[in-house]
């Protein structure tokens, strides 16, 4: 069960941090439809994080609630993937990150639907259709941007160059998903007329707590109000 708790925290941290980055897009999206879509995706991930944290608090024996995980831990205690903590970047960066993360997370959640823990299995079952939508949404944008204008293609290539190395982290975290994830991504790239990036995979991993410099400020902001009001109820 400590393994189960750790898994819930890892996947909860991924979802929370990714949702926080998506929240940063609010009032900054390229069109109104995209404000709605990115918020939808952020809300789905936030919902997943809340369920996963609650489950972690039940099974790790501490009885902590969802907010204890989100607001009372420092960056060194977070286990999210480096992929999701990368700064916001441009819209090509946004959809590329979303494509990589949702493809991987979808593959994982599909398997977790048969996890022996019935609560985690139920969370995964609920997450699968959400993540399919996230992946499709991202893939459609990768298509449009990859096969759009010269500028959008240039930006897509830059975003791929920047984020592709983080696949190394995903594969290290779940080697069994590698083939499936790579197949999906290759299909999307092909459809988008984009070459597969040649990038050295990262060797550090957020799963071991080896975070970059961007996580601490993200959490500083996320936790700021909660921390300046100790003992408050919201």
């Amino acid at each position: 069960t400590s393994e189960l708790a750790a898994l819930c925290v890892e996947l909860g941290d991924d979802a929370l941090v990714a949702a926080q980055r998506l929240a940063e897009w609010t009032t900054r999206a390229p069109e109104l439809e995209e404000e709605v879509a990115l918020a939808n995706i952020g809300l789905d991930l936030l919902g997943q994080a809340r369920l996963l944290y609650s489950r972690a608090g039940q099974v790790d024996g501490t009885g902590r609630d969802e907010d204890a995980f989100a607001y009372a831990r420092g960056p060194e205690e977070f286990r999210n993937l480096l992929l999701v903590e990368q700064p916001r970047g441009d819209f090509a960066h946004c959809v590329t990150g979303l494509l990589l993360h949702s493809t991987w997370r979808l593959a994982l959640m599909q398997r977790l639907r048969t996890h022996p823990d019935p609560v985690l299995a139920a969370v995964a079952a609920k997450a699968v259709p959400e993540l399919s939508y996230h992946r499709d949404h991202a893939a459609q944008w990768v298509l449009r941007l990859g096969d759009g204008t010269e500028e959008s293609r240039r930006r897509m290539l830059a975003a791929l160059g920047k984020l592709w190395p983080y696949l190394g982290e995903l594969h290290a975290a779940a080697p069994e998903l590698r083939e499936e994830v790579e197949d999906v991504l290759r299909q999307v790239l092909r459809a988008a007329t984009l070459p597969e990036p040649q990038a050295t995979p990262v060797t550090t991993s957020g799963r071991r707590g080896e975070h970059g410099e961007h996580l601490a400020p993200l959490l500083e902001e996320l936790q700021s109000v909660a921390r300046t009001h100790p003992g408050a109820t919201w």
């Binding site: 390229p30 918020a39 969802e66 441009d90 700021s224 009001h229 408050a232």
Partner: protein, 305 residues
């Protein structure tokens, strides 16, 4: 049936119906201003999504701001039925040639503001908008029905946040009172200038675009809000506020309408910041919209003849 006959019978005007040019123009201006307000109105609260102090509040606020984007979409669509398009209206906003509600030019300084905006600003919006569900123009009236439903939900959530905060720490209660002090008068100004200084009201009421005068709606808001403030345990910052048995309404002080004029004409505390953010998002998004258009064109070319 002619336009005048439809109006006289209280029936709805639909896009295919003939309508006077003045009616069309007034409606376009009003609906566009309303749409712009939804979009600019995302900003004061939007900055607090990343800072919300619990995951539940984060989800509520995220969803609320998303709803505002959705309202903007409905309203731009309603305006499009009158022969203008969204890009054109957005241009007019960015050039400062169309307005948005003055209320969004005030700063949000603490998380209590999120609650007070829900309570006051959504509350005032509801007072303004519920009568618009009976607007003479069909697409606008139907958009308002959906919008009002969501806004009364937002108002309840805002008020509920304040109830929780008032039962919290001393610092939380102080934040709530401070937010109430800052938002009360600007909220009263949301109903526009006083009736004796509102020249277009009569025509709009005759056309069934507007159903009540500014001062009537302001009175309704005050009467609705005073008992809520009492229940919450905050003081509304108006020494003249008291129940008038004779009128059956609350008397209250006169908002500073000079301030309203200043804020509308561009000199509120955050006008420039709000417009700059909107402009930046629009400019930053230009390459994305261009790419989507180019991709769609290629795709059509490949598929079609």
């Amino acid at each position: 049936m002619t336009f005048d006959a439809l109006i006289a019978r209280g029936q709805r005007i639909e896009p295919r119906d003939d309508m006077p040019e003045g009616y069309r123009k007034t409606l376009v201006r009003q609906i566009a201003q309303h749409a712009h307000s939804e979009i600019i109105g995302m900003q004061p609260e939007g900055e607090w999504i990343t800072r919300a102090p619990s995951l539940r509040r984060k989800a509520i606020l995220f969803a609320k701001v998303q709803d505002e984007a959705g309202h903007g979409l409905y309203l731009y669509s309603a305006a499009e039925t009158l022969g203008v398009d969204r890009a054109e209206l957005t241009e007019l906003l960015l050039q400062g040639r169309q307005k948005y509600s003055s209320i969004f030019n005030y700063p949000t300084l603490s998380f209590a503001d999120v609650g007070v905006i829900g309570w006051f600003v959504d509350g005032a919006a509801i007072c303004n908008q519920v009568p618009l569900c009976r607007s003479s123009y069909g697409p606008y009236a139907r958009a308002m029905v959906r919008i009002c439903k969501e806004e009364s939900f937002h108002q309840r959530q805002g008020y509920e946040l304040l109830l929780r905060m008032m039962s919290g720490t001393e610092a939380q209660r102080a934040d709530v009172q401070d937010a109430v002090d800052r938002w009360w008068w600007p909220s009263l100004m949301m109903f526009g200038p006083p009736d004796d200084d509102s020249p277009n009201t009569a025509q709009s009421m005759a056309w069934g675009i507007k159903r009540h005068s500014n001062d009537e709606l302001r009175q309704r808001f005050v009467d609705m809000t005073v008992p809520q403030a009492e229940k919450l345990g905050v003081t509304l910052p108006d020494p003249e506020l008291r129940w008038n048995e004779e009128r059956g309404h609350h008397d209250f002080g006169r908002p500073d309408f000079d301030e309203l004029k200043r804020v509308i004409s561009g000199d509120g505390p955050c006008n420039e910041q709000r417009m700059a953010r909107r402009r930046q998002a629009h400019e930053d998004g230009a390459w994305v919209r261009a790419a989507a258009a180019a991709h769609a064109a290629k795709h059509r070319a490949q598929q079609g003849r």
